[in-house]
């Protein structure tokens, strides 16, 4: 028995390595622990001066909503912007944009330049809302169901096949 023990351990290790390498996994991604929990409470100014502040009540609309954390200084945000425009236009998903640690004028400029996919916006100047949501960097996109519960989080930019392969199926499941 004893002589097979080292071999057994190695077989186990190789199996785990192989499983992890074949799974579609990003070793840098930290899973969100907020999935299945109601979105944290918050109240922040909107990017446009004439709109009331953004609060968690804005997420409970009875239909799925996407909350996108973005910033004008963030390069990947630029890369995923087309996907956001497509989500708002073609798929008619209400999008809420939260500018993370961003100068409001620059955030508005960013949206004016690339187009505004958001139905509502908020300004998280000190990043505290981001921390409450477990955001580790921008962009991150949260899918909220009609009752305000977080159902899915997309880590990093929505580029390549991640819209069709990941985000849309989650969205369809809620609709």
């Amino acid at each position: 028995m004893k002589r097979f023990l080292p071999l057994g351990i190695v077989v186990f290790l190789v199996a785990v390595f192989l499983g992890m390498m074949l799974s579609d996994r990003n070793p840098n991604e930290i899973d969100s622990v907020l999935i299945g929990r109601p979105a944290p409470a918050f109240s922040i100014d909107s990017l446009s001066a004439d709109t009331p502040p953004l609060t968690e009540a804005d997420l409970k609309t009875g239909e799925p909503v996407l909350v996108n954390f973005f910033a004008s200084w963030c390069v990947p945000c630029r890369a995923e912007h087309d996907s956001l425009m497509e989500l708002a236009g073609r798929y008619r998903v209400p999008l809420i944009g939260i500018a993370y640690k961003n100068d409001p004028a620059k955030a508005v400029g960013f949206l004016n330049e690339l187009g505004n996919p958001f139905s509502k916006t908020g300004l998280d100047l000190d990043g505290r809302v981001g921390i409450d949501w477990g955001v580790s960097g921008v962009p991150e996109t949260f899918l909220i169901d009609g009752s305000g519960v977080i159902r899915y989080r997309h880590w990093g930019p929505i580029v390549g096949d991640s819209l069709e392969a990941r985000l849309l199926p989650e969205l369809e499941a809620l609709r």
């Binding site: 002589r3 097979f4 080292p6 071999l7 190695v10 077989v11 290790l13 190789v14 785990v16 390595f17 192989l18 499983g19 992890m20 390498m21 996994r25 070793p27 840098n28 930290i30 899973d31």
Partner: protein, 673 residues
């Protein structure tokens, strides 16, 4: 053109590796000595080809030949020559080529120094070594060709991460690679012994110098890496239990265990199958390290850019080499029954305790490094296994080791009784339990751990001195002590030196952890802050422009009492390409410890935030590592242990290798290191 020569040389090397891997076995089967001897020619030819390939790549780097992709992505015309050369092994493809060069170098050395090994056995060893070369060459040629061309060639290269442009880091990887690859020799000897079906005390004597050499290189590589982290990364730490650091630490632990268990095989003809297993495991852990940094399964600061195809290839190779050798082990190990009496008492029992704790620690470091992966694989969320866990494991496992380390050399071989063994094992276990309980229940350890660490270091140093004293009969016959000193062999000095080195490291760790004074303050020019009796006066900052960075340089004057001791000028650098912010700590080493200053960001109104430290005795960590290396080299230089077959009169006088236990303690002790 040069690139094609290198590529061609690698293809030729592949054929020589294939020849070398197959022919000696065929020769052994057919009892054809000429085929067996082909192994020697094959390894020389492999080395020649690998050296040619490595030479051409180095040439491409030195001449900044950007038509080679590897050079274009990793070098730059303005880089100093040292970093052009270190760039050769500072990337994935080049480092693999360096691996192959070392594998073939060690193969050739075994052939050269081992001319007195039995032909069939040497042939098998070289065949295993050639098989490893073959695997790595296939990996290079199929997935990571360093000579791939770029057309059109760019005018300028991408450069090297500025953090890596440092002399400490230029030599840290080659040292480590020499250590990793050095363990391949022990591996090849072990596999050859499994094929042949026997392990003799002589086998242990052949293996040990190679294991020792690899261990010396690993010690040097690890120490250099941690020294670099200490002065370059700028936050005062020197060891982070990062997966890649652990990947170099595990083979080191396994090699240390191997060194000691080989002594038991040599002296007592026991622990044979265990020693074989250790030789396999030590090299497997080296391979695991190369796998981890290249596969992308684990995140680490040190990881190379990852590519799934490479990851799968190297995993397959790992599975084949490690799985294959362990299958052979499972099949053949029962034949390795010890013929010598295994006395669970005295010197060998201390060595067994040593082996238990060294290899357990290696196993636990492995578990801790991979545990987040296991938890994730079984869907139990994501966790981090950070320094607190490894420190706990170190306290539980290293403290009994040190107790045994102190006792072992004082005991004689073979004779002894159960009570004697209990005297080692029981205190060792009590010490382990206390250390573990304290660390688990008391988060920051604190006073108890400090007292404990100091006690262990003192114990170890005392026992080393006591051992020397008893060997020269200092107390029994003080008059003859000088003659006794001269009689101590280099191997014995080596052992004492290495053990004392460990004590010095322990001392450095304990004192610097417990008594570091630290101040995190915002200072305006003219302000003074006191740290551990040294007063740091902040004189202000000035902008500095370097060749490829801009920096803010802070000026501090450090006084002890009224006397000016030194001035410290830490920098906060911003590199342009790639954009990166690094801090350059300013360190002034004193005999009693290091003064350490870091400048941070502007805090408004001309004030700057700064970190000031006094780190007592921290240099002892690297001094101790140096002592360990010197100990290893001393031991290697002992004629009895020189690489290759031991020769000379001493050997001839021995009645028989297997009867070695019968020789008196005096000669026997000579092999301890």
């Amino acid at each position: 053109m040069a690139g094609e020569i290198g590529h061609f040389a690698l293809i030729l090397a592949l054929f020589f590796a294939l020849t070398g891997a197959v022919m000696p076995h065929v020769g052994a089967y057919r009892k054809d000595t000429r085929l067996m001897a082909l192994g020697d020619r094959a390894v020389y030819a492999q080395f020649l080809m690998a050296a040619t390939a490595f030479g051409t790549l180095t040439y491409a780097f030195v001449t900044s030949d950007f038509s080679v992709i590897n050079v274009a992505t990793n070098s730059h015309t303005l880089k100093p020559m040292l970093y052009k050369i270190s760039g050769v092994w500072g990337n994935h493809e080049g480092s693999l080529l360096f691996w192959v060069l070392n594998l073939t170098l060690f193969g050739a050395l075994v052939s050269w120094r081992g001319s007195k090994l039995p032909l069939q056995f040497r042939g098998r060893v070289l065949a295993v070594q050639s098989l490893l070369v073959l695997g790595f060459l296939m990996f290079i040629l199929f997935t990571s060709n360093p000579f791939e061309r770029l057309d059109p060639a760019p005018i300028e290269g991408n450069g090297l991460n500025p953090l890596l442009q440092d002399p400490g880091l230029a030599f840290h990887p080659p040292m480590l690679y020499l250590g990793y690859v050095g363990l391949s020799v022990a591996f090849s000897f072990a596999v050859a012994a499994l094929i042949e079906g026997e392990v003799t005390p002589l086998w242990a004597r052949w293996v040990r110098p190679w294991a020792l050499l690899a261990w010396v290189f690993l010690t040097g590589g690890i120490a250099l890496g941690s020294w670099w982290a200490y002065y370059e990364l700028g936050w005062g730490g020197w060891w982070f239990w990062d997966p890649v650091e652990n990947a170099s630490f595990m083979p080191w632990l396994a090699a240390a265990a191997l060194l000691h268990s080989a002594i038991v095989v040599e002296k007592r003809d026991a622990l044979k199958s265990w020693t074989i297993l250790l030789a396999i495991v030590a090299f497997s852990l080296s391979l695991l390290g190369t796998f981890l940094v290249r596969s992308g399964v684990i995140t680490s600061v040190h990881a190379f850019a990852t590519d799934p195809a490479r990851g799968i290839f190297i995993l397959a190779f790992l599975a084949l080499v490690v799985g294959g050798s362990l299958t052979l082990y499972a099949w053949r190990a029962p034949k390795m029954a010890p013929s010598g009496l295994f006395g669970f008492v005295s010197r060998e029992s201390a060595l067994v305790v040593n082996n238990i704790f060294l290899s357990t620690f290696a196993a636990v470091v492995l578990v801790g490094t991979l545990y987040p992966l296991f938890v994730e694989a079984f869907g139990a969320g994501q966790i981090t296994v950070g320094p607190p866990f490894f420190e706990y494991a170190a306290a539980v496992l290293m403290s009994p080791l040190i107790v045994a380390l102190g006792l072992g050399p004082l005991l004689a071989w073979k004779r002894g009784n159960i009570g004697r063994a209990a005297q080692i094992v029981i205190p060792a276990l009590v010490v382990a339990a206390v250390a573990g309980v304290v660390l688990v229940w008391q988060t920051s350890g604190g006073f108890v751990m400090t007292a404990f660490g100091l006690g262990l270091a003192a114990w170890l140093i005392a026992s080393v001195l006591l051992e020397i004293a008893s060997r020269i009969r200092l107390f029994a016959a003080p008059g003859k002590a000088m003659t006794g000193l001269k009689k101590i062999t280099r191997a014995q000095w080596g052992m004492s030196m290495a053990h004392a080195g460990l004590a010095v490291i322990l001392l450095g760790i304990t004192i610097s952890e417990a008594f570091t004074s630290e101040k995190l303050v915002v200072m305006a020019p003219g302000d003074t802050a006191d740290v551990a009796g040294y007063s740091f006066t902040f004189e202000g900052v000035a902008p500095v422009a370097g060749p490829n960075f801009t920096a803010v340089r802070g000026f501090f004057t450090v006084r002890e009492g009224d006397a000016i001791l030194t001035s410290l000028t830490p920098e906060d650098r911003v590199y342009a390409n790639p954009p990166m912010n690094t801090t350059e700590a300013a360190i002034y080493p004193l005999f009693s410890g290091d003064l350490y200053a870091v400048v941070g960001e502007a805090a408004g109104a001309g004030r700057w935030s700064v970190r000031l430290y006094f780190k007592p005795m921290i240099s002892a960590i690297w001094l101790g590592a140096l002592m360990m290396m010197i100990g290893g080299i001393l031991s290697l230089s002992d004629t009895r242990l020189r690489i290759g077959l031991p020769t000379g009169k001493k050997q001839a006088q021995k009645p028989s290798a297997k009867a070695a236990p019968k020789t008196g303690p005096k000669t026997v002790q000579g092999a301890r290191a």
